[in-house]
Subunit: 297 residues, 2 copies
């Protein structure tokens, strides 16, 4: 669910950057621009369902929604852990904002200042992989890997081994070996691991090689496309990418779907961005506030 | 123009507290809750027209919209002075938020940490009087006095003194003495000063005597009415007022119009607040996001 899709200045149509990654009712926020708590509410997501906030970089448009969100969570009665992951400086920012406003959290907050290469496993089982991006200040991207799914049973293989649907298959799916007709059958003979969906979010970045390397193998890429390619110079100067750049990254890395985000206020409609990108990567979409992207394996 | 009218947690209908006082195109913001910059935009007010932001107290719901507003002003090309007035701690908050996000203002920002009794004259001529309010933390209220209007000519008096409509009257209106039929006529013999509209805003406060004293003689009172009077105990515990309290303050102080603001999320419509207040002060209104109150002398 795209909560805010603008670049640094919001517009009537686009709020400041934030994306809600939702997995079975659990929300991971990607960036928290000013207005994130209100957008969650507008789009029917409770702040209490947020288990983690991932911050790509310490520019105000990506982080000024965090202090208010933290305080509203407390007022809504939050008691459970909130994990916050982001670049250096994040912990001090959160602490100073709390101090300045006479606030102490009434629930546990864990702030991790992450480095490229770090991996986190959230309580829900969602895994977070941190990668380097290329902005004007220290910046991170995140790959979100969904929790492992129950492995699929290869019914042909099961039949060959004489296993009928029933409790034995359940055990094999749960990773246990079983004995069939006096022979030990290992799980890998019968069940096949399910692929896990991977969503990559770049935050603000120019289209550097580190991003291309990190994004490779993801299913979905959500990438900075502040401008169209006629403004590439401005984009690179400010550490951003164009719609075409994002499309080229998508094409090179074999992702299945590309979502353009962090759209400059100069674009009143999506058409210029789409036509800039689609020449290079057909399955491109422009994020809009309130748009929901439903992912199925 | 009421930009945000909620209590501490925003709702779908009400954003976090902020009011735009508009005088001939110049805007003075009263509080700057998260989302203020977006609300300005939604309601057609440019952040560049804001000459001052007055902050009543350092609770997050009243101040978390300030850093983003400051940064957006820069991105929109602001070059002229912005004045910020509020309680102790405001300067550090603004500075730390800027530092944390790698930001330096590209236009002059003056931050005044004010005390009750302080008076400021803004570049537009609007005057700000600071008064003490009674919240859980150090808190201020503001009286906004419109700039002096051109004095009105007493046509009867002018006629008696033999002055006809023309340049002589213009000089008298501008404060100069003139000679008529060999006699010096002073301005006060012919022109009458116009009353200046006074708007008082309490921010969050219980209905203490300091507030009553300070508000006396205002034309309009915009006051905390977080709850209805059946919840007076909760209100006072948290340093707030009820709708009835606000009405009683209005009635005691002789204001002409009362606007209730900082409305708890528990009130889905205005009726309970209005009926709570109107028994004591008839000319009561409940602020709504986007509502505009037009004041004429």
């Amino acid at each position: 669910m795209f909560l805010g899709t603008s670049a640094a200045v919001p517009t009537r149509e686009r709020g400041l950057p934030s994306i809600a990654y939702v997995y079975r009712g659990t929300v991971v926020l990607l960036d928290a621009g000013e207005g994130t708590q209100r957008a969650l509410q507008m789009y029917g997501l409770s702040p209490l369902r947020v288990e983690a906030v991932l911050v790509t970089h310490m520019h105000g448009d990506h982080v000024f929604g965090l202090p208010g969100l933290l305080q509203s969570m407390a007022m809504l009665g939050r008691k459970h852990l909130l994990t916050i992951i982001g670049p250096k400086g994040l912990h001090k920012f959160v602490t100073e904002a709390a101090k300045a406003t006479y606030w102490l959290p009434s629930y546990p907050v864990a702030v991790y200042e992450a480095s490229p290469g770090d991996k986190y496993r959230l309580p829900s089982g969602i895994e977070v992989e941190v990668f380097k991006t290329c902005h004007r200040i220290p910046s991170l991207g995140f790959k979100l890997v969904e929790p492992p799914r129950k492995p699929r049973v290869d019914l042909e293989a099961a039949k060959r081994l004489g296993i009928r649907p029933g409790p034995l298959l359940g055990k094999l799916q749960a990773g246990e070996a079983v004995v069939v007709r006096g022979r030990v059958v290992k799980p890998e003979e019968v069940v096949r691991p399910q692929p896990r969906l991977v969503v990559a979010y770049t935050g603000d970045t120019s289209p550097c090689s580190e991003v291309i390397e990190a994004v490779r193998g993801s299913d979905v890429l959500v990438m900075d496309a502040t401008f169209t390619s006629d403004m590439a110079e401005e984009a690179y100067e400010e550490g951003h990418a164009t719609a075409r750049d994002a499309a080229l990254v998508a094409a090179k890395t074999g992702v299945k779907l590309l979502v353009l985000i962090h759209i400059s206020a100069r674009y009143e409609d999506d058409e210029p961005l789409l036509s800039d990108a689609k020449r290079f990567f057909w399955n491109t979409h422009v994020a809009r506030d309130g748009a929901k992207l439903v992912l199925r394996p």
